[in-house]
Amino acid sequence: MRGYRAMTIAEIKLFLREPFSIVFVLVFPLMMMMLLSAVFGNDQEEAQAVENGILVWRGVTPVNYYTAASVAVIIAALGLMTLPINLAGYREQGILKRLRASSVPAWVVFSAQLTVALLTFIAGTIIMGIVAWLVYDAMLPEDPLGVIVAVLVGTATFGALGMLLATVIGSSRAAQGIGLLLFFSMWLICGSAPPRAVLPSGLRDFSELLPLTHLVHAIQDPWYGFGWSWSGLAVLTAFAIAAAIPALWFFKWD
């Protein structure tokens, strides 16, 4: 624990000295939320809009839809981009090797990164919530506990996916490319950009297999008071376990 604390404090300091490395992760979801909310508005009539036999906005206004979805987007961006880029960079520069030679366990390296990601995420969510609430009069979570649980499960899932990417991908440049690609393709088809109702049915079915779709639901459902998305949480947990085991098992230090 002493080691975990020291590592986390060190990582927080490093992050504060170079906060812009992460601006994208915070600014992009916020910008998209504002943009999409401005386009689709906060009209109660929209809430009941139907396309392809599906409620387009899940029975809430577009603003509310995007506020909750964007929380999921921050988590995905941290897991798919920030984590693997940081870890691959550490490996490439020989930092991981230096840490390992001094008895720093892999879980400490990971969990310190995850903690910083979670703190960033909390900051990002608070900003997002305030903006949405002030500017667009969006609803705040009906069931905050349910949202928190979904966020924690989602962080574990995308954290594990990020570690898996860092394990599989050798260089930080490759991590950047692959992370960006994965992030944007998920962002586009998982209901966080266009609502899934307007997607062609094949794409919609495919997005059912992706973790971000389930995270969006797992956060939206308690947010709007629809209850907990047990199936979403279950799928996310399965993803977390399936990613974490090979990530820790095959992790390369140099």
Binding site: A6, E18, G94, A101, S102
Partner: protein, 302 residues
């Protein structure tokens, strides 16, 4: 007492590249053991296998009677490492780095003491990125000692250090040995090897080609001693009759004698007997560098 390190027939390949073909040696407690060899000889690979940082393909490795491959965690508590290629996060400050690493040590040394000993006071709050090469090196050496190790691996100890810092580092390494720490030192500097090491393994092409004390290495190769002096005397043929003298050459007053064995003493005695007492009589003894070049050949190889 059992050896601190024993390596038998270590073998390590990277794909089709054989980095270490067959390396065996042992290191005793309290020793400064040097590993010398040309670029790509397999020195770093060998010491990193011993630290459990790379996996050997074959051979038996024991460090403190532990297996570096399987008992890595126990082993790492007792050893210190200065790696040839490693880094710290660019924005991490010197003092922070020492405190961070101390948090993982079982028996940590006070970071302030390390900062003072390795003369990093002025860099205490400087970020790793902004340190000069020599300052980084001193930080890495300090990090190797943060857990008060019983055995320390130093891979290219003084790379990038200026002459003063090198000297100072040598003295500190000797001091550390006096306190009972065993040292394994990989180096390219012959003066360093000669000055510090009790025994030296010369590695070439993934094999140990010689293993002895620095003086023992030189003696075993029977390298020529060169004795020089100047004299106006015309006839020196009587010197050539000495058994230790192989060759005598002169350019005007300057005389150069090549020989093996106690050349200086015998030449000096003979000169005095003939009433010649040159003020500039001196001998250039073969150095570890001569031995190294003789052993590994003088060409650059891959």
């Amino acid at each position: 007492m059992a050896s601190v390190i024993s390596v038998e027939n270590l073998q390590k390949s990277y794909g089709s590249v054989v980095a270490v073909e067959d390396v065996s040696f042992s290191v005793e407690a309290g020793e400064i053991f040097g590993i010398l060899g040309p670029n790509g000889a397999g020195k770093t690979t060998t010491v990193e296998c011993l630290q459990g940082l790379r996996e050997a393909n074959g051979g038996t490795l024991r460090v403190f009677d532990l297996d570096p491959q399987t008992q890595t965690d126990t082993l790492r508590r007792r050893i210190g490492s200065q790696l040839q290629d490693s880094a710290l996060p660019g924005r991490m400050k010197v003092e922070e780095a020492l405190r961070l690493f101390a948090a993982f040590a079982h028996n940590p040394v006070d970071p302030d003491e390390l900062i003072a000993r390795w003369r990093l006071e002025a860099q205490r709050d400087q970020a790793f990125d902004s340190l000069s090469g020599g300052q980084r090196q001193r930080l890495f050496i300090a990090l190797a000692f943060v857990n008060a190790p019983e055995l320390v691996f130093l891979d290219e100890l003084t790379q990038g250090l200026d002459p003063q810092a090198r000297r100072a580092t040598w003295e500190l390494i000797r001091e550390i040995r006096e306190q009972g720490t065993t040292v394994v030192l990989v180096t390219h500097f012959m003066d360093e090897a000669e000055y510090l090491c009790d025994r030296l393994a010369v590695v070439d092409g993934g094999r140990v080609i010689a293993l002895d004390s620095p003086q023992g290495l030189i003696n075993s190769l029977e390298l020529p001693v060169v004795v020089r002096f100047s004299t106006e005397a015309e006839d020196l043929s009587w010197l050539e009759e000495l058994e230790v003298v192989d060759q005598l050459s002169r350019r005007e007053a300057a005389v150069e004698i090549q020989g093996t064995g106690p050349v200086l003493a015998l030449v000096a005695a003979e000169l005095v007997a003939h009433g010649i007492v040159p003020a500039d009589l001196r001998a250039d003894r073969p150095t570890v560098e001569d031995a190294f070049l003789a052993l590994t050949g003088q060409t650059i190889r891959g």
